[in-house]
């Protein structure tokens, strides 16, 4: 996998398309265990991201991802805004100055994002949050070799399915504790579409 500014913009544009398509679905996930606005908030945030980054000149990916982070934190709102903002801000700061990044560099950027999410959300893995999507994907990228776009999608699918069985102990879903079991976590679900978009961009890249 090779990401440059152009590819990263394509990735986030595709992520936006997916999130717009799944807006109602994401909201329906949030209704039983949250306050029922996750899809609306994420759709608003990613629409703003697309508007912000499309056609803009960036000197490197870091600068681009910082714009993404600042836009998400300002426009998504609620708890998801600062959490997705933190994830993209950490991606941005850990690849400063790089014109292109490979899977290995992406792995260490993801690792920084997961650390940031844990700190910001005061959560660990297994607590039914978006970390349960970002951490398994990070572990996949940390493997030395054999990572493919298909594996990213498989890992993401499995991770999302796993959040169903988890009991929420953080965020608003925690209030519903036992009742939260059986539902996918909304933050993990919207993260799923972000990584699915990445895999599809990667697949469409003949050089990767």
């Amino acid at each position: 996998m090779q990401l440059d500014v152009k590819k990263t913009i394509e990735w986030l544009q595709l992520a936006n398309t997916k999130i717009q398509e799944k807006k109602d679905y994401l909201t329906s996930l949030d209704q039983p265990i949250g306050d029922g606005d996750h899809g609306i908030n994420m759709a608003r945030g990613f629409k703003e991201v697309e508007a912000k980054i499309s056609g803009k000149d960036y000197k490197d990916i870091s600068e681009l991802l910082k714009d993404v982070a600042m836009t998400l934190m300002a426009k998504v709102g609620g708890a998801s805004g600062p959490l997705f903002g933190t994830a993209f801000l950490k991606l941005s700061t850990s690849i400063k100055g790089e014109a292109t990044i490979d899977a290995k560099q992406f792995a260490s950027a993801l690792d920084a994002a997961v650390t940031g999410l844990k700190q910001r959300g005061k959560a660990e893995e297994g607590e039914k949050t978006m970390i349960d999507m970002w951490a398994p994907i990070t572990k996949l990228f940390q493997q030395e070799e054999g990572i493919t776009a298909d594996k990213v999608v498989d890992t993401a699918k499995m991770a999302l399915e796993k959040t169903k069985e988890m009991k929420a102990t953080k965020g608003r879903a925690a209030y519903f504790k036992e009742k939260s079991v059986g539902h996918q976590d909304p933050g993990a679900a919207s993260s799923y579409y972000i990584f699915e978009a990445l895999a599809e961009i990667w697949k469409g890249d003949s050089k990767a």
Binding site: M73, G78, G81, P82, L83, R120
Partner: protein
């Protein structure tokens, strides 16, 4: 929904503009934000005090801006935390070179957004410290919170930390005093009727004509118990007893007490509650040093009240009595 508004999605900006128009010599809007600052902010050589949160709790928090209290209050949408970029602008506007102190109510959204703003400010070279207020003894976790919620006791944190900042104290000294207030303040509330979030258009919850809810949150989050409505004396007794059960205050101690209206309860009823509150505190051997009765931390047009008790020492007494000229808090 019956409200004196223009458009439901413009209530916060309309309110902010109207508030500033009411106090043009004291308040100013930070451009392109919903953050309001003291007219003379940033005050050079003074630690800036910043608070804020969702709107719908007026006069919190912008009503507490002024000499001896807050420098900046950042307003979010109704019952929704302001975003980190807004809080960051607030922090920058408050920074007079000695750092900025944040007073955050313990709600998941507020803590996340303010902490992220603090990190961004630190990256820009501004020193930031914070306190998270969790004075509500009613419930441990709620639909809005991990841990206890921050409610009317926050106003006393604003007052005391604000007086400390005005005296020229350092960030660390303010942190020490704010932590002391949080350790010694407890509150609990109850409601008779729900407020209506303008954008939602209908009441957040329903209580039957003869019902009340004890321990309810300031966003209508569930409390401890729904039961038939009781007399003012019984309500006051339940609230104060739960507070005193949570925080053992030695006999002979001095306390400050606040009887706070949640938005639709007349002052008459608040004073009726206060009568009993004072009596119970006295029976428990406590001396009430100061009393505040009125609307300090509301929940739109919710009918109901909360009681707050703050255990005092000499330092807190001095700071509580220090001059203050905020629109909603004058000494």
């Amino acid at each position: 929904m019956k409200k004196i508004i223009n458009k439901p999605d413009e209530v916060v900006q309309d309110m902010v503009q109207g508030l500033i128009a009411a106090y043009p010599s004291q308040l100013k809007l930070i451009p392109e934000t919903l953050a309001i600052a003291r007219k003379d902010a940033p005050v050079q050589g003074k630690v800036g005090l910043v608070s804020g949160g969702g709107s719908g709790h007026e006069p919190a928090h912008a009503g507490y801006i002024g000499e001896g209290m807050l420098d900046v209050a950042v307003a979010g949408e109704v019952f929704t935390s302001p975003t980190p970029d807004q809080v960051l602008e607030g922090i920058k506007a408050a920074d007079g070179g000695k750092g900025v102190f944040l007073v955050i109510k313990n709600y998941t959204g507020d803590v996340l957004n303010f902490e992220m703003a603090a990190e961004l400010a630190e990256a820009e070279g501004i020193e930031v410290e914070k306190v998270v207020v969790n004075d509500d003894v009613a419930v441990e976790d709620s639909s809005f919170t991990t841990g206890r919620r921050g409610i009317a006791g926050t106003v006393l944190v604003h007052k005391i930390a604000g007086a400390m900042a005005e005296s020229g104290a350092t960030l660390q000294e303010i942190k020490r005093v704010a932590d002391k207030v949080v350790a010694n303040v407890r509150s609990m509330g109850m409601a008779l009727t729900s407020g209506t979030v303008p954008a939602a258009g209908k009441p957040s919850f329903q209580l039957a004509e003869n019902e009340m809810e004890i321990g309810i949150g300031i966003h209508g989050e569930p409390g401890i118990e729904r039961k038939p409505i009781a007399s003012a004396d019984e309500i006051a007794t339940e609230l104060v007893e739960r507070i005193l059960a949570d925080m053992e205050i030695p006999k002979g101690q001095e306390v400050a007490v606040m009887v706070n209206g949640l938005g639709a309860t007349p002052e008459m009823e608040l004073y009726i509650v206060n009568k009993k509150v004072q009596q119970i505190l006295k029976e428990n051997g406590l001396h009430v040093y100061r009393t505040f009765v009125g609307e300090y931390m509301t929940s739109l047009e919710m009918a109901g009240c909360s009681v707050t008790v703050l255990q005092l020492d000499d330092e807190l007494k001095t700071l509580l009595n220090a001059p203050c000229s905020a629109p909603a808090f004058r000494n």
